[in-house]
Symmetry: C2
Subunit: 218 residues, 2 copies
DNA sequence: TTGAATATTTAGATAAATCTAAAAATTTTC
DNA sequence: GAAAATTTTTAGATTTATCTAAATATTCAA
């Protein structure tokens, strides 16, 4: 078995390698794990010895198949527990991330499968992130960041990529939650802020916010 | 916050001090924690520094109020999660102990209270053990071990005090599960084995088994 | 293409939880 | 009540994950 720390490293490396395909750098991992580069180097050696990553000194790391499987399994558990907390225990979507960070390390294959079944095999977590299935397969999706859309485009908010309570509460105040239909009214050249049409009302959101919202606009 | 290990020590000390009121001995803790006496001594110093136990060298330990509160909180979580696993995720009563050993350390007060509510504020776990309430209060009970009963006594099986899969499966084969009404037909002087009347049928159980079954016989 | 800036690794420490072996305290037995 | 047996503690190592400071490698920019 892998320690909590090892699992968290794998998860972080997985997420970082999704952003840009190139090998993940030590400093990026250090930032993601909120630790120092020297600590990352130590752990990379360990993960490499366990054949969970391919690691070349000074060149960064990529996950091996074994490492990827482990990372996806942790992500699956994280997202299923989030669904449980929101759907069954009435938590708000901005309250579940921290608890799921703990629950994701509970170690029982049977538990995960029973939980999945109990929840009705959900496809997405409360933040709109896809939940990989039993075999680690993600449903293919054609999402786009809000800031990549053009004037007149329409779509449904399908997810976010920041999970702080501050950010999620901000979205809620604006009425920007999962499943909401939006339309791009205007994009300001000046600062990249965007005017949206939501439920008949006009809303202005900053560029920072548009970069953190995923939209499904098939 | 306390580490998983610290919480497990407190839980073990709590259970041992329930058996006989006297201070709990180092060796007993070592056995309960499946570790060495030397390791126990180290941890006792630590727990003592944190004022979770009263510890006198060579004399054994008792929990302080603070230590007791922590132990009971962990036990509450353990038992609530067991109810969840059996009632909601269709686990068998002999499959839940190990998983609950992990879940009991998840650290969120709100989670425990929401879980309790979701489960309908259960009073007992699947093994018949009482679940302390929000304030750490156990429902008073007048249970007795099966081996303390006399010929002719009747009662309802309310719990067990061993949780190995082997033992629980054995009980199931005998039809001795929580809620079953039993009557003592005969107690053998020879080996202390007991003949029970269960559901109209006669069943023989060894002394070892009778020592591990709790009966409510009001 | 070389010097400066940046990124990464190494070296050496620290803290938590554990271990074995040996010493010390307590209890039991005669 | 002293010797033997048992229990507990101490001393010193080990493992995991972390840290700071210094050294080294890589990249960038003039």
């Amino acid at each position: 078995m892998h320690s909590f720390t090892e699992e968290n490293y794998l998860k972080t490396i997985y997420h970082l390698s999704q952003l840009n395909d190139s090998p993940v750098q030590t400093n990026a991992i250090a930032e993601g794990m909120k630790t120092r580069a020297a600590s990352v180097t130590d752990m990379l050696k360990k993960l490499s010895d366990k054949q969970l990553i391919d690691y070349i000194k000074y060149q960064g790391v990529t996950l091996t198949d074994k490492g990827k499987t482990t990372a996806v399994s942790v992500i699956r558990k994280h997202r299923l527990w989030e669904v449980f907390l929101v759907e069954k225990l009435k938590f708000k979507w901005d309250e579940v991330h921290e608890i799921a960070e703990e629950l994701e390390h509970i170690n029982s294959g049977l538990l995960v499968e029973r939980l999945d079944e109990f929840l009705g095999f959900p496809k997405r977590d409360p933040h709109g992130d896809p939940i990989p299935d039993h075999n680690g397969i993600f449903e293919p999706d054609q999402n786009i960041h809000l800031h990549e859309m053009s004037r007149g485009d329409k779509g449904v908010i399908i997810g976010v990529n920041e999970y702080t309570s501050a950010f999620l509460k901000h979205l809620e105040r604006l009425g920007l939650t999962i499943g909401i239909l939006i339309e791009i009214e205007e994009i300001a050249d000046y600062d990249g802020s965007v005017e949206l049409l939501v439920d008949g009302k006009k809303i202005n959101v900053s560029k920072e916010v548009t970069q953190r919202i995923l939209v499904n606009y098939k």
